[in-house]
């Protein structure tokens, strides 16, 4: 037991030493940056815990209640703030902290854009050091991805609620084109508060290192919309439907960037037209197929008639 205590003591001492060096070693490779930066802001937030000004104390008074639901460590992932939790009281996982900072940062996006400044401002409102922005990549990628992810979750919840209402019989089931239009409009409306800076976000999302994540978020959002629209296709239609809707969504988003009409009514009219086109395309495909089948049957009939005529002529 003594050995364990000694080992524990040594480990803690080593941790303090490591954190002391954290401030010095700021130029490490990015994966280490997260650890160093979070250690730095832990120290700063520890220091800020002493009553300095009444305003900061007020902020910290509200923190314990914020942190209550986040006390438990999340899952098997080894969180490096775990050992820091032995010293500071407001323990939460690094991922949750980052989510909180990014959510707070969104308020500052209309002013600062999708940048580290917005993240720094967000961190400040949470009572953390502006060095917290160092946890994230300098081009604001994580902030944008976080925002997109949040919007997609909100859309899912909205569609889930609508579905519940229909199942309970409290609402009418919408026809497919209406459903798609409403879902895309609801999702695009979430961009309105950030519309000035959204073109910047789009270009950042197209950077090579962001494409896997942004594509993933886009495809799962489109899949969600089709799922709630009642799509049950299990053949190649699964792909064509999603491809068509992705096209509609992307083009409508771009139109929205350029739109200056009141409440974006030009955009919604554009959306309505594109969805109608898509529906017509489906109908046209069916028509082409049935026409094709009719033509083939006609040809077969003609061939049989001719061969019968030949046979009867040969017999005579």
């Amino acid at each position: 037991a003594a050995a364990a205590a000694a080992a524990g003591g040594l480990r803690r001492a080593g941790w303090r030493l490591w954190r002391g060096r954290a401030v010095v070693r700021c130029q490490l490779a990015p994966p280490h940056r997260a650890l160093q930066a979070s250690a730095v802001l832990r120290r700063v937030s520890d220091e800020q815990k002493e009553p300095v000004t009444s305003s900061s104390q007020q902020q910290f008074d509200s923190h314990p209640t914020d942190h209550q639901p986040e006390q438990e460590p999340q899952g098997p992932r080894p969180s490096y703030t775990g050992q820091g939790g032995q010293e500071s009281e407001d323990y939460e996982s690094e991922e949750q902290l980052q989510h909180r900072i990014l959510t707070a940062a969104l308020e500052f996006v209309p002013e600062h854009g999708w940048t580290a400044e917005a993240i720094a401002e967000g961190a400040k409102t949470l009572g953390l050091s502006v060095a917290a922005a160092g946890m994230f990549h300098s081009d604001g990628s994580e902030l944008i991805l976080h925002f997109v992810s949040q919007c997609n979750t909100k859309l899912s919840e909205l569609l889930e609620q609508e579905q519940k209402l229909v199942q309970l019989g409290e609402a009418e089931k919408k026809p497919t084109d209406q459903f798609l239009r409403d879902a895309v409009e609801a999702r695009l409306r979430m961009l309105i508060p950030y519309i000035e800076k959204w073109p910047q976000a789009l270009s950042i999302l197209l950077l090579p290192h962001n494409i896997p994540s942004s594509l993933n978020l886009l495809t799962s959002m489109i899949d969600d919309i089709w799922h709630y629209a009642g799509d049950q296709s299990t053949d190649f239609n699964w792909y064509t439907r999603r491809a068509v809707l992705t096209g509609i969504y992307n083009t409508t988003e771009l139109v929205m960037m350029q739109d200056s009409s009141p409440d974006f009514e030009d955009t919604w009219r554009f959306l309505e037209n594109r969805v109608a086109d898509a529906m017509n395309m489906g109908n046209t495909a069916d028509q082409v197929q049935s026409t094709g089948e009719a033509v083939v049957q006609g040809l077969m009939g003609a061939a049989v008639t001719v061969s019968n005529a030949e046979t009867s002529r040969a017999v005579r």
Binding site: P30, P31, R33, A34, R77, E95, Q98, M135, F136, H137, S141, E142, L145, H146, S149, Q150, N152, T153, L155, S156, H209, N210, S213, N216, L217, S220, M221, D223, D224, H227, Q232, T234, D235, F236, W238, Y239
Partner: protein
Amino acid sequence: APAAAVSLRRCSTRVTLEGVNRSVIDRIIRVDHAGEYGANRIYAGQMAVLGRSSVGPIIQQMWNQEKDHLKKFNELMVAYRVRPTVLLPFWNVAGFVLGAGSALLGRKGAMACTVAVEESISDHYNSQIRTLMEEDPEKYKELLQIIKQFRDDEREHHDIGLEHDAEAAPAYSVLKTAIQLGCKAAIFLSERI
């Protein structure tokens, strides 16, 4: 990459069906659906050539069972929100060509094809059953039941094929090996793409 420093939930909108191991279940359902679809097309090809022969009714009966299997997997695919394989149009044609091609070698050729394919499929189902048992037999009880039932059906088809002189088919071992190799490739691709 720097973006890896922040672990965001990338797939934010996918509904996790209460702790289901998505990567495993996705693959299983996708490949099984593709397999049943392919089997359907193989029997369709065989019927197109041998429909009016003496083995026609037997092939029809096996085909009907495959149709039921496919229907079941269509339902599972929607329930678990799994995407179908992109290669479906390709399996559509390839299956029909394999069925018709083997049937053109005669009845025994068709039966040999059946034996080869059904053996591949039942081995494949067996390994899936093993995977699911290792994961969590309780959680995947329904799926396990379905796969076990289907494995037994495929085994039965395999035995029917042997009863109808599959082994007397021209170049039986070569045919069987070639078809089974094709099945392995199809399984590998359908799981991933």
